[in-house]
């Protein structure tokens, strides 16, 4: 009985908020609630036909062009046509569809930064740097999948459906943690520090 009570206490102490040093569950819950709301709004906005025609498709085409340009440095048998990358020698092609252009990952990052209490300029800087970092990794994903598909369709499926998705999201998490790391101290917070 005593050992059971000790175990329960141990678990409880593990989960207990340590007041001064931790974020309260309620605060985190509020953050996730705002985050989900902004995320849902951005997601619905992205799915509008006008947004797709004016922003998403031209952006994806540009992504395909940049990927092709990079590939052509070492392989001149690759061309892009709209959102499609094609290898002229073996005819293999990939199409950069919704979910493969990094826009969803960017929306997740932007939502997290927008709802976090930070100066607006810092949020903007974070979103711009995040955009560059996510899209750079996404170009690596597109190029790697393009060649992986020519080598093995099973490996392509695995990397496409399971691995790269998680890596892109890990990239988003790392960017967000680094962004938090460099959060500036506002004058109010500096005053608080001195008062402490």
């Amino acid at each position: 009985m005593q050992s059971k009570a000790s175990l329960a206490n141990l678990i409880a102490s593990d989960y207990k908020s340590h007041d001064e040093n931790t974020l309260s569950a309620l605060t985190m819950f509020k953050f996730f609630l705002y985050f989900s709301t902004v995320q849902l709004c951005l997601f619905s906005l992205e799915k509008l036909n006008s947004t797709r025609e004016l922003v998403i498709i031209p952006f994806t085409e540009k992504l395909a062009q940049i990927s092709t340009w990079l590939i052509q440095i070492f392989d001149d048998q690759v061309i892009s046509n709209g959102i499609i990358l094609q290898h002229l020698e073996n005819g293999f092609s990939v199409s950069i569809e919704s979910g493969c252009n990094g826009v969803e990952a960017l929306m997740i990052l932007a939502s997290a930064m927008l709802v976090f209490p930070a100066p607006w300029l810092f949020k903007l800087q974070g979103i711009i740097i995040g955009f560059i970092a996510v899209e750079l990794l996404n170009i690596v994903r597109i190029i790697s999948l393009f060649y992986l598909g020519q080598w093995s369709l099973v490996a392509f499926e695995w990397a496409h459906l399971y691995i790269w998705e998680a890596l892109i999201m890990l990239d988003v998490l790392i960017i967000f943690l680094c962004w938090l790391k460099f959060l500036p101290d506002t004058p109010e917070r500096v005053t608080e520090k001195h008062a402490d």
Binding site: F32, A166, L177, K181, L183
Partner: protein, 203 residues
């Protein structure tokens, strides 16, 4: 916590990731069995008499649907059914990342195993969400209307299915495990960003 500690944490995540992917895929047949059972309960309660059967083929599911066809087109002694193939792993592929994040975080004999179980359990409803919305998307948006004439849906419901499918396949599978980790390891995150607690908990 200095920035190189963050780098060390990320390195640990990358070291755990292949092992977690292996474990996740190795147990995929068994988890798919459980998911098939739950999907059947959920779909049968949402669309009574529509689902004929759910068959598991390794890590894939075939949801067999009763469809409507003119009697003349159905050979005698046969019933009109449409199998909808679904890969449930697509809606759970963020789980290995979530497990890696937990395993790379500070270890505790009580908290770590509990959190691993917790993330496994919490990810199930989101996986079911993705499976159900793919099923509805295939059946109501991609299948000829005359085959599903016994189910009437409004246009706003069809729009909802499209958005739900996109959320369930593109956002939730990877975001949910990260959110769970952020929530469970908020003490650890404060170590990365010492000012975080002051900023967020400020009245």
């Amino acid at each position: 916590m200095p920035i190189n500690s963050l780098a060390l944490f990320i390195l640990k995540v990358f070291l755990w990731l292949p092992l977690c992917y292996w474990g996740w895929y190795y147990t995929a047949n068994e988890t798919t069995l459980a998911i098939a059972y739950l999907t059947e309960i959920l779909l049968n309660s949402s669309f009574p008499l529509l689902i004929s059967d759910i068959e598991q083929v390794n890590t894939h599911l075939d949801i067999v649907v009763n469809i409507t066809l003119p009697a003349a087109q159905v050979p005698k002694g046969m019933v009109a059914e449409l199998p909808i193939p679904i890969n449930p792993l697509i809606y759970n592929h963020g789980l290995p990342l979530g497990l890696s994040l937990i395993l790379a975080s500070p270890f505790s004999y009580c908290k770590t195993p509990l959190n691993l179980v917790l993330i496994l359990l919490i990810s199930i409803p989101f996986q079911l969400f993705g499976i159900c919305f793919e099923f509805m998307k295939t059946l109501f948006l991609q299948t000829p209307k005359e085959l599903t004439s016994h189910v009437k849906l409004d246009s706003w419901q069809l729009d909802g299915i499209a958005v739900g499918y996109q959320m369930g396949s593109l956002v939730l599978p990877t975001v949910v495990p990260i959110i769970i980790w952020l929530f469970l390891y908020r003490d650890f995150i404060v170590q990365f960003v010492p000012t975080l607690q002051k900023i967020i908990n400020k009245p």
